[in-house]
Amino acid sequence: MQTAVAFSKVSRHFGQVRAVDGVDLEIGEGEFFAMLGPSGSGKTTCLRLIAGFEQPTFGHIEIFGETAEGVPPYRRNVNTVFQDYALFPHLSVADNVAYGPMIRGVPRAARMKAAEEALELVQLPGYGARQPGQLSGGQRQRVALARALVNKPKVLLLDEPLGALDLKLREQMQEELKTLQRSLGITFVFVTHDQGEALSMADRVAVFNHGRIMQVGAPEEIYRAPRSRFVADFVGSSNILPPEAVERFAGRKAWASLRPESIRLAATGGRAATVLGHSYLGAATRLTVDMDGQRLTVLLPAGADVPANGTRIEIEWKASDLHVMEDDT
């Protein structure tokens, strides 16, 4: 697999603020790569470094083997879907999509044909004559996608593209983006603060915090084996057990993560705990229990008997589900 984007020791400082702080990163060709992190964690700045809107303060960036520093955005074979879509309000949908080809000097008939094809790709055939102001949020997002894809970029950057959509539309777009990415084979780099979105869509996820990458890996790897407390907590809330407790269970004095769905109610032979509260989530019920002064969240699948608050229960988990973490951050 060829490397599409490579960061080596890249930093971007804004005055005293280290928005990106010594990031090493390799994104493979054709990969669907998610940058996940809370706001201000540096993920969007990394995206803008790839797009060329920012230049690294230190470090080196390569896009398909070519040095990216000093190359302006308009000379990069990279296109962006902006968070606010940034459709040109004075142009029709077709002219918006055909903007890239128009700048490259493609004759009008040819670029209008390309625009219509791109609109078909994003399920908006025949929308070319409309104005951006007449479209719904979801439609604008598709136009923004078509406008980027019509240029056949080597890398497509998506900056929180689903953030402004409602839940139903978001789930639909997640599926579509995934399908689109598989069929086009273009490298997608996707910025999001929604861990569910990152896990469900991406081939690999990089978790950002304070301008650094905390962990990179396949979604399953990140979820099952978070390397640090931050990752365990940010990617699907987890029970984080302090070293003292972990020493009793695993014999090692280190922080550990125990996913709520790994904990089961035991008939006998489990560990004693008291139910503090529960909330019904539809597909599951979330219990809060107290085990020797340690608060734990337990996820019970639908249909299981839910013990009442204050009940003494016994809980258990497989030893392999208790993930002892390497970092203590």
Binding site: F53, P73, T80, A86, I103, R104
Partner: protein, 271 residues
């Protein structure tokens, strides 16, 4: 529910409002009426008779044409200068952050707040010191000082309403700075620029004070009118010219008003 919007105004207030408007606009009508009077030495009310001959007299006066020509040329060139400088300045102030940005913004607006007589005296002494003879260009320079401000103000307001990601989107799609300006920036600020330009033209066209200090022996139309008022003969000619000035300045301002009124739709539709 009580609504102030539907409450009827008391009669006294209506009369006061009508009186206020009459006070503002009747004298202007008077100017129009005197353009058609038969009495040429003094302004006599009521006019002893009405005639349209002053239109023809005015048409045949070369000094009127000279002054009008000078005014139009000065206003046109000042407007062009103001549009270029004002747009560049507005782009710099609203698109980037740099040391002294607020100060520059204030300094650009200052000339319109400054009394014209001060601008005039300042320019005149500056021209004297620099040994620059009065010419067409000294008038243009004087007018440009306040024309820049109106263009700048219009452009800055529009720039602030235009999402900065539009420019990034254009660059991202392969357009360099010049192409981005032509295809994205200009269409989005176009109406604001046109409005600013029209206001600038109107301001320059009827400017007297700064012009007095920077024109030397040349007479723009307002200066010509001022001189004409002290002459005893053919007074209605001045009124005919006044009518033309009202039309020439009023129409652009009206157009500017309508252009910027719908501006929100043009610039804000992207969000």
């Amino acid at each position: 529910m009580r609504s102030d919007r539907n409450a009827r105004a008391p009669l006294g207030l209506k009369i006061a409002a009508a009186g206020g408007l009459a006070f503002l606009h009747l004298p202007i009508l008077l100017i129009f009426v005197y353009a058609f009077t038969t009495e040429e030495k003094s302004y006599q009310w009521p006019p002893p008779g009405l005639t349209a001959k002053w239109l023809a007299v005015t048409w045949n006066r070369p000094d009127v044409w000279e002054a009008l020509g000078l005014s139009v040329r000065v206003a046109a060139i000042s407007t062009v200068v103001a549009m270029v400088l004002g747009t560049l300045c507005a782009a710099a102030v609203s698109r980037t952050r740099f040391f002294g940005r607020e100060t520059i913004s204030l300094l650009v607006i200052l000339p319109i707040a400054l009394p014209g007589i001060i601008t005039g005296i300042a320019l005149r002494s500056a021209f004297n010191i620099a040994d620059i003879p009065f010419s067409f260009w000294t008038i243009v320079l004087g007018h440009a000082t306040f024309c820049v401000v109106v263009v700048y103000n219009n452009a800055v307001a529009r720039f602030r309403r235009t999402s900065s990601s539009l420019i990034e989107a254009s660059m991202d799609l392969g357009a360099d700075g010049f192409q981005t300006f032509r295809h994205v920036v200009l269409p989005n600020i176009g109406t604001a620029l046109l409005a600013g330009g029209m206001l600038a033209f109107a301001l320059s066209f009827d400017e007297v004070i700064v012009t007095t200090f920077t024109a030397g022996q040349q007479a723009t139309l307002p200066i010509w009118m001022l001189e004409e008022l002290v002459r005893p003969r053919q007074r209605p000619v001045t009124n005919v010219v006044a009518m033309v000035v009202v039309l020439v300045t009023f129409l652009p301002i009206l157009a500017a008003y309508y252009l910027t009124r719908d501006g929100d739709r043009v610039a804000g539709a992207g969000k």
